[in-house]
Amino acid sequence: MLIKRISLIKPMILIFILIPVVTQAGQNQSMQELLIGLIPEQNIFRQMDRYRPLAAYLSEKTGLKVRLTILSKYGDIVERFKSRHLDGAFFGALTGTMAIIKLGVEPIARPVNQNGTSSVRSYIFVRADSKIDSVKDMNGKRAVFVDRATVTGYLFAAAFLRENGVNDIEKYFTEYFFTGSHDSAIYSVLDNRADIGSAQNTFFNVLVSKDPTIKRELRIIARSEEFPETTLCMRKNISPGIKNSLTNTLLNMDRDPAGRDILKKFGASKFIRAEIKDFNSVFNLAKRARVDIRTYEGDR
């Protein structure tokens, strides 16, 4: 009888030991993590500050732990998406196009700016006191771009230069470099570290709104057509439930007071559904720039 009792006690102790472990594991399982990448399109610290509230909101609403990670450089974005096992990323127009083609990611939503647009343009700008008015005037000058893997920070400028007779950028400019972010590119021209710059209009406008003197100090000499705004794309094999949950949460943010607050901090009025066809303009521009997206590395 005593032996039987001892034999029963052991499994019970085991059950009591295992119950908390199993429960904890269950809890961890229930809080599934989504790793979302950010393209460093502006100062990475400001960008993180901008995206953190959105990530927190999504975590609260979807029940998923949304974690952000900076993808330092545009060019290797596709490789890093794979190597970091990202679940999704806020892609720029070009990186998004590359990811769609190379990784098969699916665009789900993109923000609408405060002015009602959900598209971006590329500006080619010089300092206001510069004597550069045309591509010819740029010869032998210093140029600054954001990254090869950006439409607004490089691809449009490349297409524009090519269409204006510049076939070899390295020879045409005495110096050219990539800042990795749009605001750095703008500050490079402002700070006279470069003579010509190319950056996205939204970041240009943000800096102008913060410091109106910038508008007076810089002169835009070329504007591109519209390209899709930064778009959240999810990996192709993501769970439909997660994808739908994320999509619905983003699309309904503007109907939720807390969501509206987050949107305001983010600098958007709402999120709209994104589709692959939104990226057609990028394909067209790539053609103009004689770039094959399928083989384009975006690296220097």
Partner: protein, 656 residues
């Protein structure tokens, strides 16, 4: 004292409040120092965090390139923490020196962020990237340097503040101890002062109270006290004096009441009015302390009120003419509304002033004596030795006057009673004598016959003498005549002796002898009857009693027994003694007494002998035995006879 207590308490309150304020001040000062120290330590912790963050970022700054992504997240997190910390620190209050450093670090942090971001995101040109890396690293080093400078300053401040805090703690301890000790000793001295201020007068009052309790009324404490205690002690002394005065008054009153009681008590034993006059006069003189006092009463014969003597301080001869007509006296009484009259100033014309002037009275008081609502006189007191007559004097004599009235009434009743008693006694004596004669009367015919026999013999022998010549025969006849004459004389003598009216004469008597004499008296009449007398006489002790009266009792009972046995029988007489008493039992074998009349035989004038009896015999006998403190008991059975048992004590006491 109340003011002193309030002031002391207020001072104590101020003292403790001051102590509390000082304590609070030093506690706050010390805690403020400690707060500063804690803040400085927090700043140090913050600085160390900053250093750690910057150092982490710096280390990763040089490792960026290979597995970049992860390090970038770490850099971003560290810089975010760094930024958050420096922003938080900027919001705190610091010394200008520290604030300047913090602002510089904050600016450097912004630059650091910018440089790092530029470095991290810049991709074109290796030299440019390396330059940007160096710029970032330099800014990081500058932050570290600034942080180090801040640490030096903070440490210096920390040391200063720590020393100051330790000093403050030490000072606080001393101040607290001094404050507490000061408060304690001052409070102790105040308490001691208050206690002394209370216990001293209380102790003095307690002592005084004990003195008063032990009978020392009027004791006044010499302790004067202060404040309320001064008033209390003064009030206490007043109270003690008042108690003493009241006690004296009470004692005086008690003395008077005692005197009054003594006078009135004597009334119970007084039976003649002169004694009442004397007791009252002398008692009043003592009670109200006067030179003259006496009783004025109405003389009904001449309708005049005059003094009765003996009286105190008054000469009867001098007073002989001082009389007040009843009408005048009653008018004064009525005009006084029946209240006592007090004349403390006899200079004017006042009621009774003629009498007072005649008697030389300076002042006087008249208290009325009433009997059954009618004025019969007054108690007069005059010439009070000290002071005036008071209402209290009047009340005292008023009580006495009421008692005098009763005493006079009692004396009068007693006189009447005495007179009536004398009359009653006389009547009783006459009654006894009558009963006695009646008893003799019952014997008279037989006695006459008995006397006739010796007389016949005398006559016969006288005739024989005339014829005898022989002297011897004559002498023999003469002897017979003499003998018969003596016999007749004895009978007559006995009869006379019995019939004499004698006063009560208590002597030592032998009851057997008394019975023998009675039986001798009745033996003559019984000689020819068929009644046989038996006697059974114990040797009984002598008793105290009146022989004549007891003879009368026995004669009555034996006469009744003989009467009850007309056809003859036995008359049994027995005596015995038992427990200080002599028992005489007289039994007959007569017809007995019917039960219904047995209870009435001792009633006066009750008789069954009709014309032959007075009905007084047994009634008188009963009274006589009662006067000898004895008793008569009778047992009777119809047809068998009766038995009378007379019990007489050996000694009679208080026979008057």
């Amino acid at each position: 004292m109340k003011k002193k207590i309030i002031l002391s308490l207020f001072f104590l309150f101020l003292l403790f409040t001051t102590g509390a304020i000082i304590t609070m001040f030093y506690i706050l000062r010390v805690t403020s120092r400690l707060d500063t120290l804690i803040t400085l330590h927090q700043v140090e912790i913050l600085r160390q965090d900053l250093v750690i963050n910057v150092q982490t970022v710096q280390s990763h700054l040089y490792t960026i390139g290979t597995s970049f992504g992860k390090e970038l997240d770490v850099i971003v997190e560290n810089v975010a923490t760094l930024d958050s910390a420096i922003q938080k620190c900027s919001g705190c209050h610091h010394s200008p020196e520290i604030s300047t450093k913090i602002i510089a670090i904050r600016d450097l942090t912004e630059q650091y962020k910018e440089a790092l971001s530029t470095f991290i995101t810049t991709t074109a040109g290796r030299e440019r990237v390396e330059r940007l890396q160096l710029v970032g690293a330099n800014i990081g080093n500058m932050i570290l340097a600034k942080t180090q400078e801040m640490a030096v300053i903070a440490n210096q401040k920390l040391n200063e503040k720590t020393i100051a805090a330790i000093k403050d703690v030490s000072n606080s301890r001393i101040i607290l101890i001094v404050t507490l000790l000061l408060c304690f000793f001052i409070a102790l001295s105040i308490a001691a002062s208050l206690t002394r201020g209370i216990t001293e007068p209380v102790s003095e009052l307690l002592k005084a109270t004990r003195k008063i309790k032990s009978g020392e009324l009027g004791y006044s404490t010499s302790y004067r006290g202060k404040d309320e205690f001064k008033e209390l002690i003064e009030a206490f002394n007043d109270m003690s004096l008042t108690l003493d005065e009241n006690n004296k008054k009470i004692i005086q009153h008690l003395v008077r009441l005692s005197g009054l009681y003594r006078i009135t008590l004597s009334f119970h034993a007084i039976t003649n009015v002169e004694d009442i006059y004397k007791e009252v006069s002398y008692g009043v003189a003592e009670l109200v302390d006067v030179e003259q006092s006496g009783i004025i009463l109405l003389d009904k014969d001449n309708e005049l009120f005059s003094h009765r003597f003996p009286a105190f301080g008054l000469n009867p001869e001098r007073m002989a003419d001082i009389k007040i007509p009843k009408e005048e006296f009653v008018n004064i009484y009525l005009s006084s509304n029946r209240r006592p009259l007090l004349f403390n100033d006899n200079t004017g014309k006042l009621p009774m002033s003629d009498m007072d002037k005649s008697l030389g009275a300076r002042n006087s008081m008249f208290v009325w004596i009433r009997q059954k609502g009618e004025l019969i006189g007054a108690i007069r007191a005059a010439n009070k030795k000290s002071g005036d007559f008071t209402e209290e004097d009047a009340r005292m004599l008023g009580i006495l006057a009421n008692n005098v009235s009763v005493a006079l009434e009692n004396a009068k009743l007693y006189e009447n009673l005495k007179k009536q008693m004398a009359e009653l006694k006389e009547a009783q004596e006459q009654l006894v004598q009558a009963a006695k004669l009646a008893a003799i009367g019952e014997l008279a015919s037989n006695i006459a016959h008995e006397i006739n026999n010796p007389l016949t013999s005398i006559l016969g022998y006288s005739e024989l003498i005339k014829e005898e010549a022989d002297i011897h025969n004559i002498m023999r006849d003469i002897e017979v005549i003499e003998k018969e004459s003596l016999r007749a004389r004895d009978i007559v003598h006995q009869l006379l002796e019995f019939s004499k009216k004698r006063p009560l004469e208590i002597k030592e008597i032998n009851i057997n002898n008394i019975i023998s004499e009675v039986l001798s008296l009745v033996s003559v009449p019984l000689k020819d009857s068929n009644i046989n007398i038996t006697g059974n006489y114990d040797d009984v002790p002598t008793i105290e009693g009146d022989a004549n009266q007891l003879k009368q009792v026995f004669l009555n009972i034996i006469n009744n027994a003989i009467f009850a046995m007309p056809g003859g029988g036995t008359l049994a007489v027995a005596t015995r003694s038992e427990k200080e008493n002599v028992y005489v039992e007289i039994s007959d074998m007569g017809k007995g007494i019917p039960h219904e009349i047995l209870q009435r035989i001792f009633e006066p004038f009750f008789t069954t002998k009709q014309d032959k009896g007075t009905g007084l015999g047994l009634s008188i006998s009963y009274k006589i035995i009662q006067s000898h403190h004895g008793s008569i008991d009778v047992e009777s059975e119809e047809g068998k006879g009766s038995k009378f048992t007379i019990v007489l004590p050996f000694t009679i006491r208080q026979i008057s």
